[in-house]
């Protein structure tokens, strides 16, 4: 028994989401599968939230090409999908002559990648714009097209728009193997059964290597998860002068530890970059926190440990694919291809930074590849590119807040006091096109529980609301899907509520 689709997409991160959303434009039956309980739970859930301008990637690489195109797509995307986005610009800070030389290299790379408006400014000009940058900074690369978004909101928005336009999303559905007919892939086997599809697209992020190996493609390709740890500062305690991202001059380890604003209002510091064995190892470590703290402190000496309210870690899906152009010596490029070895398979792999920025461009590239492979894509007449964002209470004016409560009293109850998140917002997410069914799903969508008390206040209340709305016992409510319940059982009944000696021994 199996269902038939035109396209099956594996993985519901930002890349899978963009592919699903852009493909939903066409007359295609699309199945989108995700092994976890929600969209955007992997690499998309833990990164710097930067929309990179495109001056880092080596010209001629897939990274450079998709980054440069991707960054130009974000203004329209954010408008259409209601994704928070601010083209606030970013700085690469130099403190030595060697750094200044590197800025020249980045400037040249950026120009070749087509990044507009970049300039090298003096230390004086830098300090005028951001006095908090270390005093001995001697210059900076100013990049006006760098920006910030919200990767959770973005992933949810594209996924919702895809679903609105007919894509079938199946969560808690883990890819196990391909169905094949000789060299042709004809579908996928999952823990929820078999699904047939004319095309299968690998957007499995950290697990993209396993998926392509099952297809018999690129046996030498491996993803080595590279962990990045971050700390978040209390927004009431510390802010940059203007919203921006401050990068150090990059090293061979990557773009380095940044001090960045976020669209949620908190300053974040990180990430480091350390290879780890497990693709699930998102541990925060003592050594890691020390590493990013000293990195951040170097850039912005005013940051204070007392202001840290949260730590988190994410994993980059670092691959080892050479750039298709053999003249370019680079071996951590994005894989974006229809491989020759099999038919019916679109292969995406090694999508690490700047994957978030590049994701819409990767989606367009996938469309090109399908068309080049002879797939006739017919646009739907009723495709709707618009997805309206839901109200965010804390971003409204007093009058708007009053009007919203009048319309729906649920917006008059605050459930998360630190971030001012209302019951109305929580209910809206539980009943959204892609329902938020876990605590973390609500957290990623509403930002509740991310403030000073880290959910201490809202957690029991959210568990109650989820239980009510989903019509499940409180013990069935989880933090992030199967195996992560909050509660185990009821307390003893009143008549049972006396001390039993065997319980005490």
């Amino acid at each position: 028994m199996s269902e038939n689709y035109d396209v099956i997409i594996i993985g519901a991160g930002i890349v899978g989401g963009m592919v699903a959303r852009f493909l939903s434009k066409y007359e295609l039956d699309i199945l989108w599968i995700e092994k976890t309980s929600d969209v955007g739970m992997g690499t998309s859930s833990a990164n710097t939230a930067a929309i990179h301008a495109g001056y880092n990637a080596l010209p001629g690489t897939n990274k450079a090409r998709t980054n440069a195109l991707g960054v130009t797509m974000w203004p329209k995307l954010s408008q259409e999908l209601g994704i928070p986005y601010d083209r606030c610009g970013d700085y690469v800070v130099a403190v030595s002559d060697a750094d200044m030389n590197m800025l020249e290299i980045l400037l040249e790379r950026g120009r070749r990648n087509g990044v507009p408006g970049m300039e090298i400014i003096t230390g004086e000009a830098l300090h005028r714009r951001e006095p908090l940058v270390r005093a001995d900074a001697i210059g900076a690369l100013w990049v006006p097209t760098g920006g910030l978004s919200d990767p959770f909101a973005a992933t949810v928005a594209v996924a919702e728009n895809a679903v609105m336009n007919g894509v079938t999303l199946k969560l808690n559905t883990a890819f196990e193997d391909f169905l094949r007919d000789g060299a042709r892939i004809t579908g996928v086997r999952t823990n929820q059964g078999d699904f047939r599809g004319k095309w299968v697209i690998n957007a499995a992020g950290l697990y993209a290597d396993d998926v392509m190996h099952k297809a018999g493609v690129r046996p030498e390709f491996t993803i080595r998860p590279r962990r990045g740890e971050y700390v978040i500062l209390d927004k009431a305690d510390f802010q940059l002068t203007n919203r921006t991202i401050l990068f150090p001059t990059p090293s061979e380890k990557g773009k380095g530890i940044v001090v960045s604003s976020s669209l949620h209002g908190n300053v974040i510091v990180g990430p480091n970059a350390n290879f780890v064995e497990s693709k699930e190892n998102k541990d925060v470590t003592k050594a890691g926190i020390e590493e990013i703290w000293s990195g951040g402190k170097k850039l912005v000496p005013a940051i204070n440990r007392r202001h840290i309210i949260a730590e988190f870690a994410g994993l980059r899906a670092t691959g080892n694919a050479p750039t298709p152009n053999p003249d370019i010596a680079y071996d951590q490029d994005f894989v974006i291809e229809i491989p020759e070895a099999v038919q019916g398979f679109v292969n995406l792999g090694g999508i690490e930074s700047p994957g978030f920025t590049a994701s819409p461009a990767i989606a367009l590239w996938v469309i090109d590849l399908l068309q080049e492979a002879g797939e006739e894509l017919v646009e739907k007449p009723d495709w709707n590119p618009i997805r309206m964002p839901r109200p965010v209470f804390r971003h409204l004016s007093r009058d708007e807040q009053a009007a919203l409560i009048q319309k729906d009293p649920a917006y008059g109850r605050i459930v998360c006091r630190c971030e001012t998140v209302t019951e109305g917002e929580i209910l809206a997410e539980i009943h959204a096109p892609i329902p938020a069914t876990t605590y973390d799903a609500i957290k990623r969508r509403t930002w509740l529980g991310t403030g000073r008390c880290q959910g201490g206040f809202d957690m029991p209340r959210v568990v109650e609301i989820l239980s009510q709305e989903l019509n499940l016992p409180p013990e069935a409510i989880t933090k992030k899907g199967a195996g992560s319940p909050f509660l185990y059982r009821r307390t003893k009944d009143v008549q049972d509520d006396h001390l039993r000696m065997e319980d005490l021994i």
């Binding site: 840290i308 001390l499 021994i505």
Partner: protein
């Protein structure tokens, strides 16, 4: 309901309830309590253990009973209450913006405001606990709400980090509920909660407390599977060879409380970086005239009785201010933390106030002294203005000292007063 009040109190815990009663008794006409929960009492509602009321009533009550005593008084006096209502902002001029489901957006004004928002718990993030981020890591107070208010067990096998009072009380509560408390770990070489809780909650139940030992790593992807414990030296550095994996499904944190002052900030109230609460005078007035603060919002108390007492003082002060009876800002005598004292509350005395009531000072010691100690209040020249003997000084237990009327003359003349605690 009105939109103008003499006194508005934010929070209905012990501090807020006492402030409302005192304000009303002192002659304030319109007094309003704004409470974010659906019942009065604040955190007392979930504190079903006993130990409340020993100082004020010489009676040992559970939290809800203690609260009920004041709730009835509040009702009898005709204090208005606004429940299930969250204050979003307080302006320096005393305008209060709040919302609830029934009335929508409210803008209320008060001649005087009493901040009584209490405190919040420190989280795993603030103590930077390494490891994964599974379900099953709770602050002790959140677990207490799950168990005592919502009637659910948040786990079966617990490790508790921190020897704070809520942690020890929860260790007992969970044990009674049939869960296993594998260990209570404390990074400091001393208890951070009350000794009586150590005896009644841990010793009496055969539960193990290990000092100078902490959580080195949280293990588990979806739900906590274990924690790695490690012993530490005086500088909190791990001692090699002391690691132990303790299988458990829940980690409770009882690692300190922080006064909740986001609203105070919006009102422009200056905060003391040591207490994390407002700077207050002996009437518990903050740096903003007409805005008072009472209870754990000022500093973290060890006994509810003292919170109630502070609420009375703040409520009286607020009523006086609302009726313009407040004496204009005069010279203040600053109160400073001296030897082995982390902080003193209040931060300053108004000599004009040194008339009938006694002024109770609250201090926290820095280092434990397990021997008889003398707490002294000294003027700028080292003359002792007031003193009190205590059997010991411990950081987990607040030191209190009342300045009595006979010392008022000396206190008035001082340009500064410093509190010390020394071994006798």
């Amino acid at each position: 309901m009105k939109d103008k009040y003499d006194v508005i109190i934010i929070g209905s815990g012990p501090g807020g309830l006492a402030a409302a009663i005192a304000a009303k008794e002192k002659g304030a006409k319109d007094v309003l309590i704004i409470e974010r929960d659906i019942e009065l009492g604040g955190i007392l509602v979930q504190c079903i253990h006993n130990g409340f009321g020993l100082e004020l009533f010489d009676e040992d009550m559970p939290g809800p009973t203690y609260a009920q005593h004041f709730i009835e008084k509040v009702r009898g006096l005709g204090v208005e209450t606004l429940m299930d209502t969250m204050v979003l902002e307080i302006t320096p001029k005393g305008t209060i913006y709040a919302i609830n489901k029934d009335s929508g957006y409210l803008a209320l004004s008060a001649r005087a405001v009493v901040l009584a928002m209490g405190c919040r718990e420190r989280t795993r993030a603030q103590i930077m606990l390494p490891g994964s981020r599974p379900a099953g890591v709770y602050t002790a107070g959140t677990a207490q709400r799950f168990v005592n208010v919502q009637g659910h067990m948040p786990g079966e096998r617990f490790v508790i980090l921190g020897s704070g009072d809520i942690g020890m009380i929860m260790a007992r509560r969970l044990t009674i509920e049939g869960a296993r408390v594998e260990r209570v770990l404390e990074i400091m070489p001393y208890l951070t909660g009350l000794t009586r809780n150590y005896v009644q909650c841990l010793l009496d139940y055969g539960l193990v407390l290990q000092k100078q030992r902490t959580v080195n790593r949280i293990i588990g992807t979806d739900r906590v599977e274990a924690i790695e414990a490690v012993s530490v030296d005086e500088t909190w550095s791990p001692i090699p060879g002391s690691r132990e994996i303790i299988p458990c499904d829940t980690l409770l944190l009882s690692v300190g409380l922080i006064p909740e002052n986001e609203l105070s900030r919006s009102a422009g109230v200056l905060l003391d970086p040591v207490t994390n609460g407002p700077f207050v005078d002996d009437r518990f007035m903050t740096s903003v005239p007409g805005i008072f603060a009472a209870g754990n919002v000022v500093h973290v108390y060890d006994l509810v009785d003292w919170v109630t007492e502070a609420g009375y003082v703040a409520g009286r002060g607020a009523a006086a201010f609302a009726q313009k009876a407040q004496v204009a800002e005069a010279r203040h005598v600053p109160l400073k933390a001296g030897e082995n004292i982390r902080y003193v509350v209040p931060h300053k005395l108004n000599p004009e106030n040194l008339q009938e009531d006694l002024i109770r000072l609250q201090m926290r010691a820095i280092q434990p002294i397990e021997a008889r100690v003398l707490v002294t209040v000294e003027d700028q020249d080292g003359n002792v203005v007031a003193k009190k003997g205590e059997p010991y000084a411990r950081p987990g237990e607040i030191l209190t000292l009342a300045i009595k009327p006979r010392a008022y003359d000396a206190a008035r003349k001082a340009s500064m007063l410093t509190v010390h605690v020394r071994k006798r």
